[in-house]
Symmetry: C2
Subunit: 232 residues, 2 copies
Amino acid sequence: MPLDRSLIAGLPAFSGLEGSELDSILAQACSSRFPRNSEIFGQDQEASHFFLLLSGHIRVVRTTPDGDQIIARYINEGELFGIAVAMGRTTYPASAVAAVDCVALSWPNSTWAELQSRAPSFAGSAYQTIGSRLQDTQERVVEMSTQQVEQRIASAVLRLVTQSGRKGETGIEIDFPISRQDIAEMTGSTLYTVSRLLSAWEDEGIVRSGRQKITVTDPHALMLVAENRRRR
Amino acid sequence: MPLDRSLIAGLPAFSGLEGSELDSILAQACSSRFPRNSEIFGQDQEASHFFLLLSGHIRVVRTTPDGDQIIARYINEGELFGIAVAMGRTTYPASAVAAVDCVALSWPNSTWAELQSRAPSFAGSAYQTIGSRLQDTQERVVEMSTQQVEQRIASAVLRLVTQSGRKGETGIEIDFPISRQDIAEMTGSTLYTVSRLLSAWEDEGIVRSGRQKITVTDPHALMLVAENRRRR
DNA sequence: GAGGCAGTTTGCGCCAGCGCAAACTCCCGG
DNA sequence: CCGGGAGTTTGCGCTGGCGCAAACTGCCTC
């Protein structure tokens, strides 16, 4: 089945391209479904494709030699991922796992060079993506170096909520299942500490949370926690 | 004074370029001296130029709103830095300070687009630089999340020694002045802890260290420390 | 609707690493 | 050669956050 250009026309990665360009880019792409918890590519695997997430949420995970896992980031709808080719890498530096059922476009890496010359604005947006991920990661290093666990966890939850939030009954909720363990792996802490803090915040009326679910009821108060300015 | 192409001909960033191309790239560049401890550009400053370090060592520093400093990385001879333009940024995300007297080439950002089309392999190497910095930074996040302070500091010293090492009398030494505080800012620890560990390692015969100076006498033993495999 | 499993909560004890304070040492400039 | 300041060392006490263990809870399957 042919892919419709309306799938991608609105995305920033494709802004400034002609409709006909879009069609020819799409002609080389392939659309796939990835069920929840399936692996889209694995760490250190030969990089063969790059991807664009059409719908769903993806967890990017790095695993250390002795089995510790770290969540590098979550990918949201409309974002590029697996763009090892744009960094001149031949393997994926982390694995990508569908946090919910996902649909993604993929292109063989061999199309990168041609795409870059035919649609430089597309390549440019890939480079910008990498640049902003470098910024985010640096920011994370700064947080881990200077802030204590409570602030880091508050920041992480805020980021999740603003980037992947959905309006719910009582506040903004993270719109994919996320466990205490996941938050721990994003913040360099432990599932126990995350659980204790979420409980404490719930007592203060800042969040409501349950099994793989977090709703922020008072974002402003959570910002104060993240900045270590909350009065207790 | 005209710049000689031999300055840059050997650098990976310029591999695969004609001599005449080199000359025309150099014609747009400007060479500057930066005395030790001077600032080359400041964090959040409008990005006007990108740079190539010809000689010396540069410290890239991020400062938080409440005054904490983090060393993001050190730049060695032959490396690009300040390439905000390649990431589509308009400001420098960190400041750059000369760790020793330095000489660097600089180009106005306005030359980037032209350079990219005339010497795509040069631009490509800039993108690769950004990609590998992203990898390094992710690696640092993983270390900070999973390893304890002693291992992180050992890894940091090893990295400094392999990237900026110089053979000395009794071992390999870091060839620019570096304080306990600097190491603390690279590893998310404190100058006290760094000092204590260096003292302990000195007792074990792994390093020798003094004022702003570190010499690794037994790199293999230090690797064991970094991997948490040393027998005590 | 009855398990059962995956995820969560909470008590408890512990220790790695922080951070102050004070002393020390080395280097540099005059 | 002397003085001062920057960088370093070390003792000491404290505590944030870890990590085990055990109980609990809610969801999904059969």
